[in-house]
């Protein structure tokens, strides 16, 4: 209420200062561009702030420094935002044709409007020249529209159930191989007043991981992708059954109480504080469970992971089928003034990232990793081995879907966990949205 006024006042003051300052600075900046030794300034934006992701931040800075050392005439100007702000700002920048020369983008539905809207430049030439057979299969495809690839993937994540080994041992629970065993494990934990699993279903996407795996196990590994491509309807009995099983778990008290009000981070807290025994999440959490100085050593030793159990009678019979996908990729802006240099930088960044990220930041890159002589926590070696042996990685449903359907999916997931919709309504509403989109 008062904020609006204060904000207006603040903007006015900023504007006035801006007007005064432009008088001084316009001369300065034009001199900068051409006169100062002809240095090329590249703008680079990423969303790994020092505070929340120090390992990423430092690694990026290290790579930038190396690049600048190799290319004396280039200066990289970095802008760092936190992910939510980044998500919004990049849309605003694109709307005014002011994207940074190089930046990061999420895959599929997020990247599509930028790519087809002519904001990103196709990078097929670099991919063919510098990255032949170097990306994990299925990653580049997530940034490919109409045969052109618009970003160099930097991350590859798959999803596991992480669990607290000590709690499991204390109550003599074996790692569940089937969904029934998982439910039984939940019963034992509940009896002993331990929360079986934590999930931040307010955000939708963490909740969706449970749904996606059940859909994969019940309906087979291709079902979600088929739904997106219109080959299978969202109202398919297998999907409805998956949603039903999710809600059964909710009814059984399998998940932490009040999860529809928890963000992913809040839910994670229950796992880190050992209040909950299981946490279904992706491998981007690995640093927190292995190397991060923020988690206690004692806790790190207790964390293990297992693959999502199989569903009796389901079509998905391979436990090596995962739900996962690429995270961020590097793009080059179509109207960058120094496109070639920008492309060089993007390629260098992704290449070096692939070489150093596992060791230095604990991130699994989308480029293939040579595990020989790799000095990392054994959990990484296990995960890298799993990725190599994976029979299928289904890209997250919400990532594959358009922003419109994705947002609806998140809403519906929260509603499913909050028991505000039945599994049938859950499927029907999304089917309607998908059908509406297909018509367009």
């Amino acid at each position: 209420m008062i904020k609006r006024k204060a904000l207006t006042a603040f903007t006015l003051i900023c504007l006035l200062i801006g007007i005064v300052l432009t008088g001084c600075s316009s001369e300065g900046s034009s001199g900068d561009g051409s006169a100062s030794g002809g240095k090329i300034h590249l703008k680079f934006m990423h969303d790994w702030p020092k505070g929340s992701s120090p390992a990423y931040f430092n690694l990026v800075n290290e790579i930038i420094k190396d690049f600048e050392a190799k290319h004396k005439n280039v200066k990289i100007d970095v802008e760092v935002l936190n992910p939510d702000q980044y998500r919004d700002k990049i849309k605003v920048l694109a709307a005014s044709n002011e994207l940074p020369d190089v930046g990061l983008t999420w895959s599929n539905g997020f990247a599509e409007p930028f790519a087809t809207g002519g904001q990103f430049t196709p990078l097929n030439d670099i991919i063919n020249k510098d990255f032949k057979d170097q990306f994990v299969p299925g990653t580049v495809e997530s940034y490919t529209f109409d045969g052109k690839s618009y970003a160099l993937p930097m991350e590859m994540n798959i999803t596991y159930i992480f669990y607290n080994k000590e709690i499991f041992k204390k109550y003599h629970i074996d790692v569940p191989k089937t969904f029934d065993e998982l439910k039984q494990a939940g019963e034992v934990l509940k009896k002993n007043r331990v929360i079986p699993a934590t999930v931040g279903s307010k955000d939708g996407w963490p909740a969706s991981m449970w749904f996606m795996y059940l859909a994969d196990r019940i309906g087979g590994p291709t079902i979600l992708t088929d739904v997106i491509n219109g080959k299978v309807k969202m109202t398919d009995p297998a999907i409805v059954k998956a949603a039903q099983e999710v809600q059964n778990l909710v009814d059984d008290g399998f998940f932490v109480k009040g999860n529809t009000a928890f963000s992913n981070d809040e839910a994670k807290g229950y796992f880190l504080n050992e209040k909950a025994a299981m946490f279904l999440t992706a491998t981007w959490e690995l640093p927190n469970f292995t190397t991060s100085p923020d988690t206690s050593k004692a806790f790190k030793e207790k964390v293990g992971y297992f693959k999502f159990p199989l569903y009796e009678g389901g079509k998905g019979t391979d436990i090596n089928s995962y739900v996962g996908g690429p995270g961020l990729g590097a793009f080059v802006a179509e109207n960058s003034k120094h496109k070639d240099v920008a492309k060089d930088f993007a390629a260098y960044l992704v290449k070096e990232w692939g070489k150093r990220s596992v060791e230095k930041a604990g991130i699994l890159p989308a480029t293939k990793v040579n595990t020989n002589g790799l000095n990392v926590h054994p959990m990484y070696l296990d995960v890298l081995k799993d990725i190599n042996e994976a029979s299928n990685v289904t890209t997250w449903f919400d990532t594959q879907a358009s922003p419109n359907v994705s947002e609806l999916h998140h809403d519906m997931m929260t509603a499913l966990f909050g028991k505000q919709v039945t599994p049938e309504e859950f499927a029907q509403k999304q089917a309607d949205a998908l059908a509406k989109e297909a018509k367009k």
């Binding site: 209420m1 809207g117 009040g258 009000a261 928890f262 419109n404 947002e407």
Partner: protein
């Protein structure tokens, strides 16, 4: 004649800078967002003009009206809370010992950023180890409420911190208005034998009615476009149970890339806010006229 003309141009010269700023920052964006509402636009690519389609969808959009109802509820709640603020301010203004200190205490929530307040209250409401439920459990309540996770109470659970957040602001304004009530009037009333309640009801409140009117408008309009705490605490959830107009607009525009439809919602919000302001002004005017 000449002097008048020159004065006019001088006046224009002085008015012009702020006029331009107001135009650029407020009126032009309003017109533009009204126009964007006529297009199918994902914020990046080309705009497609689709006439009144978005506005027609808006009128039939149940979710929009639900969120409007939630915003109106928040407005009612804020106006009702003004009564509480008025009572507190009356007490503070009555030369209570330590009222200076209390005033400062009340203003503290206003100094905190909305996000900090939201985080604070999320922790307080946590259904498993939050403050409220811990107290309830220790009192022997078995089925403690889920607060923000319960669609039936999430909205009201957020109202509380919102009211708490702005308490200081309203109390300060009311307090300032109350201490400006002339002392002679109160003294005269006291000599005539009026008690404290009568002085408050018959003298102080009528004298600050102008300020009260402004506060009612501020509270209602502020509530209609309210966003911060709701966005951080529940994000409009669970399942739109605490969705308000502004959060719905944000989700459409920035979540779903529907900048066209988002703009239409924004324009709807503007129309509703203006209508509310007009209604309140009309309502309060007739009352003070007779």
């Amino acid at each position: 004649m000449k002097t008048v003309m020159s004065r006019k141009s001088v006046i224009a010269l002085y008015v012009l800078p702020s006029l331009i700023l107001v135009l650029i920052l407020i009126y032009i964006p309003i017109v533009l967002s009204g126009y964007y509402g006529l297009t199918d636009w994902n914020g990046v690519g080309k705009m497609k003009f689709i006439g009144l389609d978005n506005y027609i969808t808006l009128i039939h959009d149940k979710l929009f009206w639900t969120s409007t109802w939630h915003s109106i509820l928040l407005g009612l709640f804020s106006v009702l809370s003004l009564i509480g603020y008025l009572i507190v301010s009356l007490i503070l203004a009555s030369k209570l010992k330590g009222s200076n200190l209390l005033r400062k205490i009340y203003i503290i929530p206003m100094l905190l950023s909305s996000v900090a307040i939201a985080q604070l209250w999320v922790k307080i409401y946590d259904p498993n180890n939050g403050m409220i439920n811990s107290i309830l459990t220790s009192l022997g309540v078995e089925h403690t409420p889920l607060w923000l996770a319960d669609p039936k109470i999430a909205l009201y659970a957020i109202f509380l911190p919102i009211v708490w957040q702005y308490a200081g602001f309203y109390i300060i304004i009311l307090y300032a208005a109350l201490i400006n009530v002339p002392e002679e009037l109160i003294e005269a009333a006291r000599i005539d034998g009026a008690n404290a309640f009568q002085i408050a009801y018959k003298i102080k409140i009528p004298l600050i009615s102008g300020v009260l009117k402004v506060l009612v408008i501020l509270a209602v309009v502020g509530s209609l476009k309210y966003f911060d705490l709701i966005y951080v605490m529940t994000g409009g959830g669970p399942g739109h149970a605490s969705e308000v107009m502004a959060s719905y607009m944000y989700k459409e525009a920035f979540g779903k890339f529907n900048f066209g439809y988002g703009s239409a919602i924004g324009f709807g919000l503007l129309v509703i806010s203006m209508a509310a302001t007009w209604l309140i002004q009309k309502f309060l005017k007739t009352k003070s006229d007779d």
